[in-house]
Subunit: 549 residues, 2 copies
């Protein structure tokens, strides 16, 4: 049996866009005499859908697109994904098209989660249905026939229950499928590519059945589907691996007598981790712009590491002509801030203007004077500087139609080290799910073939430069300590005492935990963040603003 | 049997705070020789919990508090709510304490939803468990014995499945309970109070069993539990009704021979709707401040209706000495804007300063000139004014510790008529779930006993005053039309054609639908909004920013 995998980049809710892409792949596969062409989960509708699935006529439009797709698939079997309705519920389903007609619908275990992210873990009875199969006695409802081959369908996280299906009990040996087709839209986070391939390999080996896993690819607002679709033989050996973070198409012959080349499983490493994070962020940004029709970006360059890394990624994605930078120094900016930023702009080949915030700041202060009545300099004046910068950048964004890139990192977002409506501004945050120490790793990766980010930016001590001689380490532990503490609190969900027992000072841990708690209101109004970690703040960890735990 | 209802205001995650309140009620009930004291759902933990339920040790701390509560409940039966663990799952459960010891745990049908808002509608088999009952053969596991009375427990939305329980089948007549106890934390939205009482009354009458429904009360970030706990006799007649939007405590004798006075069910009306919305918003704001320890608010007064209504509510909640207003006129502000705002401040007895945004605006424009290079006045300059105002108010907020109140309404939030990081600023939005026409109704309600909001503010045409002679109706349909269109699109989830068939111009409907779609990114970074409608934007209707439906 010849199977083709179409690892496509869909657009959430854009049925016409997705349909054209699907029909293109069908033509290609028919030309190549493929038996079965498989698309990712929810390929007709795109995703994550949230409440799009409930919009008027949306599912009717999916069914209409399905008809057009059927008309195109005259001489092939196809598995595509879309939301379908059964009774009062909407299901995430695979649709089996065989030579131009729908043969059946195969539903995911649970009704729609709003986001279709992993959520319903712990469900024990997957639910499938298939109009044809239910009539045709003796055929399990979660399987299709493709030619004379039995193909078992599994959608997304349902795969974890697959070994509980009756066809895998020893007594039902004759019912075992000839292959498993897994249709997914898996969201990227650190190490998931290697971990998931290892899991899939183990599953195929355990079940002793070839496994074809087709994943979507592409950025959709704040998540990135990572591709890496793969095919395993009945020994669990990897025999085909599609690209990470790019659209791809592959054909594979699963006939038992066909000798597929064995590929070794990729292994986790520090360098793979940073490379994948970079590619995920770049793809996330690219699709955020392209799918909305934006072509240019702007950002503030402080001379610090975060804005330097964001600028470098932006130039990689859009090209130097489409990235516009502004330096906005104040009386507290050091000499090197401007010169470092200038050097960076030169290295990247982007245009960079300078607007001092001093004149605006002075008039703000004198306008506020009757109200402030000579009270001493405080966080109000610190934040004012950040908000002037945010306002200047938004004026540039509004005037020229550049999308403003946010430059906050996860360490800052976690402890609230940043100004709401100042640092929090932006259409998209590229680094909001990377700790400060990980941002440095990204900078080294960017410089792997030569200096793009000036050395001095990487070497100098981080500072917000909102008051005289300020360094981040004045009010926070050094980032190499803080980031480890935060990782334990957030990713490991440890208590203060548990973190302390890992070898950190109680006072530092308590302070970090307290800051993490009190910055919830800032994260609530933060720019959307591209997910690259297992626990993205504000998405995977939601704490009500008014609470005390 | 004497039952007491403790309609308490808990704090999400604050176990110590909630425990003290619970123990206080237990003392009171024991003094009054109550047989059974009932608390709302999740009374020990508070709610909505979202990911608080998964914080380290959180559930252990709930169990520890439960022990203290048991020690206090020496001579009474009590039903309290908390999250409990069974196997790998966390359940929302009722705990039955009888004379100092835990008799059993009764779980809600489904494992925890993150928010514990209605979500798992459509579940068909409620799941309960009770260690004691499982041992004691013949006793259904969803029932407790209290003295010699059988009490059936139902948590939150599980009530909708109650008629499917075996005890209500005709063959199990002897198993019927003597009363149903319903423990809830129901979130306010328009008309829910009357609708829910009617539903509960019908349920008690259908089942022919007395029904005691205990609801929580109080604001928790963006939702308000509305109280209105109630007791119905076996005919479905209302025999006790606790206060709306306030803590309350009531005792009721459910002995069949005790003659309780019958109370008529409240009926829906336009005046009740606006009164309840006002009270919900006031309570939501009060608890947002009190539960976080904030005591004062600031806001910008434009001379328009929205800021006037917010100021009046703020004064009602905090008192005039704790509300600080700032007028921030520009060259585009009309004469009456300042005089109307001044009159309002005078009526409310609040202090009000004036800061012209002109000097700051001029310096911004000259600072931006080298970049803007003489391009004509555009949305950039319009938004700049709103952002200067936001920045000024945040400076005041930061300097004095006043929380900034947001003044945007739902019509504006829906169509994106407002500036991100300008109008969107604020710790809390009071009006973000009320259409503009509903804001006018609130203004009339505020003026019910005499003029607080000056007539001229209510009568003049709405304007953002961001360019010469601007009126909202220049770029939007009149609000009485727009609001109806938006209501159909949002609350009724109608398609453009369906709305048109209700008698609106196609062009207006298309424009509103298009604006609603394109303002998603603004709502993503908006201040938290107190929920008062069935479909709150950004909470009950989540559309990914990058999408096309």
């Amino acid at each position: 049996m010849n199977i083709a995998l179409a690892q496509i980049n869909t657009k959430a809710g854009d049925i016409a866009f997705n349909k054209d892409k699907i029909i293109g792949c069908i033509s290609r596969a028919m030309n190549n005499h493929i038996d079965l062409l498989v698309f990712p989960q929810l390929s007709i509708s795109g995703g994550p859908l949230y409440d799009i699935a409930g919009m008027p006529d949306f599912i009717d439009k999916c069914y209409a697109a399905l008809e057009d797709i059927c008309s195109a698939a005259t001489d092939i079997d196809v598995l595509v994904g879309m939301p379908v309705v059964s009774g009062d519920d909407t299901f995430n389903a695979a649709v089996h098209i065989s030579r131009g007609t729908v043969k059946g619908y195969y539903s995911k275990a649970m009704p729609f989660d709003r986001s279709e992210l992993p959520f319903f873990a712990g469900v024990d009875s997957p639910y499938f249905y298939d109009e044809e199969a239910l009539e045709q006695e003796g055929m399990p409802e979660y399987m299709i026939m493709c030619g004379n081959k039995k193909v078992l369908i599994s959608l997304g996280d349902d795969l974890q229950f697959i070994d509980t299906l009756p066809c895998f009990t020893p007594s039902e040996r004759d019912e075992r499928p000839d292959c498993i087709v897994h249709m997914a839209q898996k969201v990227f986070f650190h190490d998931i590519i290697e971990d998931d391939l290892e899991y899939l390999s183990g599953l195929a080996a355990d079940l002793q059945v070839p496994l074809v896993s087709v994943n979507g690819v592409g950025g959709n607002t704040d998540v990135v589907f990572y591709g890496s679709s793969a095919v395993f033989n009945a020994k669990g050996q990897l025999i085909r691996k599609l690209k990470n973070f790019e659209e791809d198409f592959a054909e594979v012959d699963l006939s038992p007598d066909f000798r597929n080349k064995i590929i070794s499983l990729p292994v986790k490493s520090a360098s793979a981790k940073v490379r994948h994070a970079y590619k995920a962020i770049a793809l996330g940004m690219k699709d955020f712009f392209e799918k909305q029709g934006f072509t240019s970006a702007c950002l503030g360059l402080s001379g610090g590491i975060d804005s330097a890394v964001v600028a470098a990624i932006a130039v990689d994605v859009l090209g130097p002509d489409r990235v516009y930078a502004v330096m906005m120094p104040s009386r507290f900016s050091s000499e090197h801030s401007v010169s470092d930023a200038r050097q960076l702009a030169k290295n990247l080949g982007i245009s960079c203007d300078k607007i001092s915030i001093e004149p605006v700041y002075d008039v703000f202060i004198s306008s506020l004077n009757p109200v402030f009545k000579g009270l001493p300099f405080s966080v109000a004046e610190e934040n004012l500087q950040a908000r002037i910068r945010g306002t200047l950048m938004m004026a540039v964004s509004n005037k020229f139609g550049h999308l403003l890139l946010n430059t906050t990192n996860k360490s800052e977002a976690a402890v609230g080290y940043g100004t709401l409506y100042g640092d929090s501004c932006g259409a998209l945050s590229l680094l909001g799910d990377l700790y400060k120490t990980e941002v440095y790793e990204l900078a080294e990766y960017i410089n792997r073939n030569g200096e793009i980010i000036p050395k001095n930016i990487i070497l100098k001590a981080p500072s917000a430069e909102l008051r005289e001689g300020q360094k981040d380490s004045d009010s926070l532990p050094e980032y190499d300590v803080l980031d480890k503490i935060l990782y334990h609190l957030i990713e490991d969900n440890m208590s203060v005492l548990e973190v302390m027992s890992e070898g950190f000072e109680l006072e530092s841990v308590q302070r970090a935990a307290c800051l993490l708690k009190s910055a919830e209101h800032k994260r609530h109004q933060f720019a959307p963040v591209i997910k690259v970690s297992r626990c993205t703040l504000g998405k995977d960890r939601i704490i009500p603003i008014v609470s005390n735990y």
